[in-house]
């Protein structure tokens, strides 16, 4: 039985909620596979701001390099999930 799936989905949902709140975008406009640079209209530094917020929320520490090459919410969620 795969118990990880519900947790992964919850992590993803929470990331989408937080991103919507931080960048004032309607939650329903964000999808798991969206390119967050484009959907949120943000640059890489603003993405790091989001990462900081996610760290506080999930109580994990994510090195900057964890985000290198990541541009969609689903992959971001998997990186965070791996450190929970």
């Amino acid at each position: 039985m795969n118990l990880a799936m519900p947790d992964a989905q919850r992590t993803l949902d929470e990331i989408l909620n937080l991103a919507a709140a931080q960048f004032k975008v309607p939650r329903e406009k964000l999808a798991a596979d969206d390119d967050f640079f484009k959907t949120l209209g943000i640059d890489s530094l603003q993405t790091l701001d989001l990462l900081t917020r996610l760290e506080h929320h999930f109580n994990v520490e994510l090195p900057d390099y964890e985000l290198q090459g990541v541009s969609d919410f689903r992959t971001l969620a998997s990186r965070i999930q791996a450190r929970l």
Partner: protein, 569 residues
């Protein structure tokens, strides 16, 4: 500061610096809010010598090439010094490239040694082509204990006792190979000599000297020409201190300014814009009375500093703003990409002088810099001492291609005499940038002649380098262009890459094709992605060797398509 005329190579100048200021702090490494390393010049020497000796024992000889792929940290500079000490050639590679790109450039530059951070090495070992690499020895920093390093050495253990022999180089010898672009298509390895760097340093510190007590915040990647010169060589030959911050998180960047009472920093436009956004948000949140007072103080500061910056006065008038930067910030250097004049003016009006400049890897680092006499937000400054600039074939408005000549101009492109001959003509470096000089000798830029974009993060992106991601796309043919190359706008803003598609007869652009484009585009790092697409109704003009005639295609598109036809991707 050292008299750089006395030295024939970077190794000799740096070596003298380590002996000249043994008790001054030269390097601080901070990760988030934790200080990890603090070294005096004497400590730095003690850290570097065993590495230099180990390199010597490993048959690293004068002229051998050693690449570094690392984020900003103390081991970057220590390794660079050890390489120069042994007479080696340093190849600083951009850590943000993909592992496949790293491998490609390592092959291209024929690196004998590689110094690399663990997380990057892990990615490289998993990239296709890893087994074919020719690097003789790899030093990996900060690898977790017990990790299999695929034959590499631990940087921390790669040390030998005993003095290393200093290997002097001549001014015309190669110091660094710097890639100004270039993977996928045609790597452009700028071959820069010791003379190039020593003269560049001399020119920069003639206008903006450092001294013991200066604390320079290094957050641009050290492989970036600006940080390598202004954030390593410059401070070291002046006995100053470099503060490395291992994160770009805006909150920790702001904190580092205060914690280390930073006096100097170099930033690319993206970071400066981020700081501007943060400050403006704070200003907006002020009560009406406080905001009124702030606006009056800014106006007063503008009045008194219109002709020359007066940092002391600005710190008194706008104390809280300056305290947010630690209270001792004297100068911000920016360049590497187009900076909006309004942002430069915003900081200058707050009493934070932002020195804007212009340069390219092919010219060492900088060709021009604002001399603040007075501050000009609308230009990239005047030619640095020793740099000759001219405008080629100016149009009726005086705008033409900028050509540069001087001791900082590179020797050549590595293994590419044809490209070198196209780029350096009769001793003049053709920059591909369009500009003109105003009556006071300030250079204003108006766009690019070359087919490339420069990101807000200061990275050059050449369309040829990213086209391979669209290989196999189900269309008749495709090509990527810089939008401003096809449709010149006499500006350096609004830069984007455009994918030009020639569909098969009867084929329609449908959702499936669009999703294919989106998926392929995402395989590229975010700063390299295509911003839009456009359909072209004719076959592409091609050479006899079937290469696309890019210039001819761009000209045809310019005549028959408007930029408005580009759809966002």
């Amino acid at each position: 500061m050292l008299n750089l005329d006395q030295y024939t190579c970077l190794g000799a100048a740096l070596r003298e610096a380590l002996n000249r200021w043994p008790n001054e702090t030269c390097l601080i490494e901070s990760d988030r809010d934790k200080e990890k390393t603090r070294l005096t010049y004497s400590d730095f020497k003690e850290m570097a010598m065993p590495l230099a000796r180990a390199l010597e024992d490993a048959e690293f000889h004068a002229g051998d090439r050693a690449a570094i792929i690392m984020t900003n940290q103390s081991k970057w500079l220590i390794s660079a010094y050890a390489i120069f000490h042994g007479g080696g050639v340093l190849v600083p590679l951009d850590y943000k490239l993909t592992a496949a790109e790293h491998l490609e450039l390592l092959v291209h530059c024929k690196a004998k040694f590689l110094v690399v951070e663990y997380f990057l090495w892990r990615a490289i070992t998993q990239a296709p082509g890893f087994k074919d690499r020719k690097v003789q020895a790899v030093l990996v920093t900060e690898a977790p204990p017990g990790t299999d390093l695929a034959g590499a050495h631990r940087w921390e253990d790669f040390r030998r006792k005993g003095d290393a022999v200093f290997v002097p180089r001549q001014r015309e010898d190669v110091a660094c190979i710097v890639y100004s672009s270039g993977t996928g298509g045609r790597p452009k390895g700028c071959v820069l000599t010791h003379d190039n760097y020593l003269e560049q340093c001399k020119a920069l510190i003639a206008w903006y000297p450092f001294w013991p007590g200066v604390r320079y915040l290094s957050i641009l990647p050290t492989n970036h020409a600006i940080d390598f010169t202004v954030g390593f060589l410059g401070p070291f030959v002046c006995g100053a201190c470099v503060v490395h911050l291992r994160t770009l998180r805006p909150e920790f960047v702001r904190d580092a300014f205060v914690r280390y009472k930073i006096t100097h920093v170099s930033l690319v436009p993206m970071v400066l814009k981020n700081l501007e956004r943060g400050l403006k948000a704070k200003f907006e949140a002020l009560s009406p009375s406080k905001r009124f007072l702030l606006d009056r103080l800014i106006a007063l500061n503008k009045f008194f500093t219109g002709w020359r910056p007066d940092v002391r006065l600005s710190r008194v008038l706008l104390r809280q703003v300056h305290q947010a930067f630690g209270g001792e910030l004297r100068l911000v250097v920016t360049g590497g990409a187009f900076m909006e004049p309004s942002t430069l003016q915003f900081f200058y009006d707050l009493g934070v002088p932002v020195v804007n400049g212009y340069g390219l890897s092919e010219a060492g680092t900088a060709l021009t810099l604002n001399d603040l006499k007075p501050f000009r937000a609308d230009t990239v400054g005047k030619a640095l001492p020793g740099v000759d600039l001219r405008v080629l074939n100016p149009d009726s408005e005086g705008i033409g291609e900028i050509a540069a000549r001087g001791k900082t101009v590179m020797s050549h492109y590595l293994d590419d005499p044809e490209l070198t001959a196209e780029t350096i003509v009769d001793g003049w470096l053709l920059t591909g940038d369009l500009g003109r000089f105003d009556a006071s000798g300030h250079l204003q830029l108006f766009g690019r002649k070359k087919n490339m974009v420069v990101t807000q993060g200061g990275k050059n992106i050449y369309p040829e380098d990213i086209e391979s991601v669209f290989d196999g796309l189900p269309v008749k043919e495709y090509s990527v262009f810089a939008a401003n190359y096809v449709w010149p706008v006499k500006s350096l803003g609004e830069e984007m890459l455009v994918l030009v598609l020639r569909l098969e007869p009867g084929q329609e652009f449908n959702e499936t094709l669009k999703q294919d484009l989106v998926a392929r585009n995402r395989r590229l790092p975010d700063f390299k992605r295509v911003g839009g697409w456009v359909i072209w109704e004719k076959d592409f003009p091609r050479t006899a060797a079937m290469k696309i005639k890019r210039m001819a295609l761009a000209e045809e598109m310019r005549k028959t398509l408007s930029r408005a036809a580009v759809a966002g991707l």
